[in-house]
């Protein structure tokens, strides 16, 4: 379209024509122009606001000395431990609960439908509102949780967010609270998609209860469960809000995960390159995840 490039000069005209035809697919000239015009806006958005920042980020975090500095930082070391715990517990506990609860919500009756309406509230309410509320709930002196403990059991609760492990635990529980409903709905849809004939004939053959689950339901759900787990791993790795609002990366910067440490390094201590390096250190996990997920999502047509 922009005239001939250097490479094209001197090539036989006929080859160029077949090349251009193969590029166009079955479309005629005018239609091809339209089709290109239709995809160009998204391609422009992708290149400017996704590809360019990716490349820019890779460039910002490309110095080896950054990583020496980063790995020597005790805050970074505790961040890595937190991130691993957050991933391992946050993803698996949540997905397992979602798997069980999706079975529970398969039961018939108006009561289940009403319960489901309440159950999805954490997902419907914006993250910031709920995480701020949880943050205040866990306040040692005036928080709702300790007030309840005192009123009902006369127990003086601790300052939940002043201890590294209970603060991290609070973040994990908040994440589970917020996202279990979403994944339950996905797995519920997956269970509903299992043809009735299969589960009915399995019941006739005696595969009820636990046996039906192990031999029929779970094998049929396994692929979906795996994709959900992988997706949720990558979503959780990029999660900023739960950590930022529930514990604030505290106490004393002991409660960060990689996503919040990156932002903290870049904007609080004004070392953007160190921030990018913190995020980039997750690449050995991100790249395989992205590759596997892209394959899975493309082939099995599961969409979330």
């Amino acid at each position: 379209m922009n005239g001939t490039s250097v490479i094209d000069v001197g090539r036989p005209a006929i080859r160029r024509r077949t090349l251009s035809r193969s590029l166009r697919g079955g479309l005629k000239g005018g239609e091809y122009t339209w089709a290109v015009a239709f995809v160009v806006p998204y391609i422009a958005v992708f290149l400017t606001f996704v590809a360019y920042p990716v490349v820019y980020g890779l460039w910002m975090g490309s110095e080896a000395s950054l990583y020496r500095e980063l790995f020597a930082d005790p805050i970074y070391q505790s961040t890595v431990v937190n991130t691993i715990l957050y991933l391992a517990l946050g993803v698996n506990v949540k997905m397992f609960l979602a798997l069980l609860l999706s079975g529970f919500f398969m039961r018939p009756g108006w009561w289940m439908k009403a319960l489901l309406l309440i159950f999805v509230l954490p997902w419907a309410v914006p993250q910031i509102s709920t995480f701020i509320s949880i943050h205040w709930m866990l306040n040692g002196e005036w928080g709702f949780l300790n007030n309840v403990l005192y009123t009902l059991f006369h127990i003086e609760g601790p300052s939940w967010l002043n201890d590294r492990w209970s603060a991290l635990g609070a973040v994990i529980v908040s994440h589970i609270w917020k996202w279990t409903p979403f994944w339950t709905l996905i797995l519920l849809a997956g269970r509903m998609a299992i043809p009735l004939e299969i589960s009915d004939s399995a019941k006739v053959d005696g595969a009820t209860g636990m046996r039906g689950f192990v031999h029929i339901t779970f094998p049929l759900l396994a692929n979906l469960y795996l994709i959900c787990t992988l997706l949720s791993t990558i979503f959780l790795l990029g999660d900023f809000n739960a950590v930022n609002f529930v514990s604030g990366g505290g106490p004393a910067n002991q409660g960060h995960v990689l996503a919040t440490l990156g932002i903290r390094n870049a904007f609080e201590i004004a070392q953007p390159r160190l921030g990018v390096a913190a995020v980039m250190s997750a690449l050995p996990l991100v790249i395989p995840l992205v590759i596997v997920l892209m394959r899975k999502l493309r082939t099995s047509e599961v969409q979330i």
Binding site: G25, P53, W111, G238, A266, S300, Q303
Partner: protein
């Protein structure tokens, strides 16, 4: 028919001894359902109840130890709506900013999403799979990981503290999902519809406007809701890119409350509830469409 009924009667008589254990089992099952339901309700509502409880406290009564509102007061809601606290002096402006960003993101995600999936799915443009892969890649990259370079780039462009920088970022992250859902939904519309229009002499833009978009209406609603809620609920990019109080959105303003230890918690929670009300209402209004969008094309597994 009668033999079946007789068989059934026989069977019941034979199992009369097993009957009471069956009843016990059903009773235990119902009890289990009841206990689990109660746990779910308490667990789900606790943080939300805490929000309502604190928002109903009169100012100064927040630092107490009761677990129900002693003297419920709507003072803090009134304070938010009339911008009565200095934290809230731009509340309506910020609300409008959130709405503006949400609507723009929705519009552009729908526009770019439909155009792209029309060209790839309906016009079958060659190498369309490359674009689909780019979208897929965007969908699986954590947005927060790109925040620092994105911020730098926006500063270089002179777009810092400009709502369009946020809109650009959110459109980039919302459009991939739109493309998937549209392509998936579009498969249910026979391609012959387009072909016959083409034979009748319709140009691609005419097919797109007159045939494709109307047939895609349900998917447009699902994705539109998704994009609107994504933009309304997003925090990190809005926090980094919008710095002045007049350009801020509600979630960023809400987080500003946390900057001091002596935060007016009742105002903060009232703001949090007012901010949460539109998405919750939209969610429940479009619930069926939303879940249809989530699993559109079937969770085939």
């Amino acid at each position: 028919m009668s033999t079946i009924a007789a068989d059934a009667r026989l069977a019941t008589r034979a199992s009369s001894r097993a009957h009471s254990s069956e009843r016990l089992r059903r009773y235990l099952r119902n009890l289990g359902t009841f206990v689990l339901s109660t746990v779910i309700v308490v667990w789900t509502l606790a943080p939300l109840y805490n929000m309502v409880l604190i928002s109903l406290e009169p100012e100064g009564d927040v630092f107490t130890d009761h677990i129900w509102p002693r003297v419920p007061s709507v003072e803090s809601f009134w304070g938010v709506l009339t911008q009565g606290h200095w934290y809230l002096e731009h509340f309506w402006r910020q609300f409008a900013n959130s709405l503006y960003i949400g609507l723009m993101v929705t519009f552009f995600a729908l526009l770019f999403g439909t155009l792209t999936s029309f060209a790839i799915g309906r016009m079958r443009i060659r190498h369309g799979w490359l674009v689909t892969n780019a979208a897929l890649l965007t969908y699986v990259i954590p947005a927060s990981f790109l925040a620092i370079p994105f911020y730098r780039i926006m500063q270089n462009y002179g777009l810092a503290n400009n709502p369009w920088s946020v809109i650009a970022a959110l459109v980039a992250f919302a459009t991939p999902y739109a493309i998937f859902v549209f392509q998936e939904y579009g498969r249910s519309i026979p391609i012959e519809v387009d072909e016959s229009a083409r034979i009748d002499g319709a140009s691609p833009p005419q097919i797109y406007l007159r045939i494709y978009l109307p047939l895609m209406a349900p998917a447009l609603v699902a994705v539109g809701t998704y994009a609107l809620l994504l933009a309304w609920n997003e925090y990190l990019y809005q926090f980094l890119l919008l710095s002045s109080k007049a350009n801020m959105t509600v979630p960023v303003a809400l987080a500003q409350f946390l900057s001091s230890d002596q935060s007016p918690w009742n105002y903060m929670m009232a703001t949090a509830i007012i901010y949460a009300a539109p998405p919750v209402a939209i969610y429940y209004a479009f619930r069926r469409r939303m879940t249809a969008g989530l699993t559109m094309g079937g969770v085939k597994g």
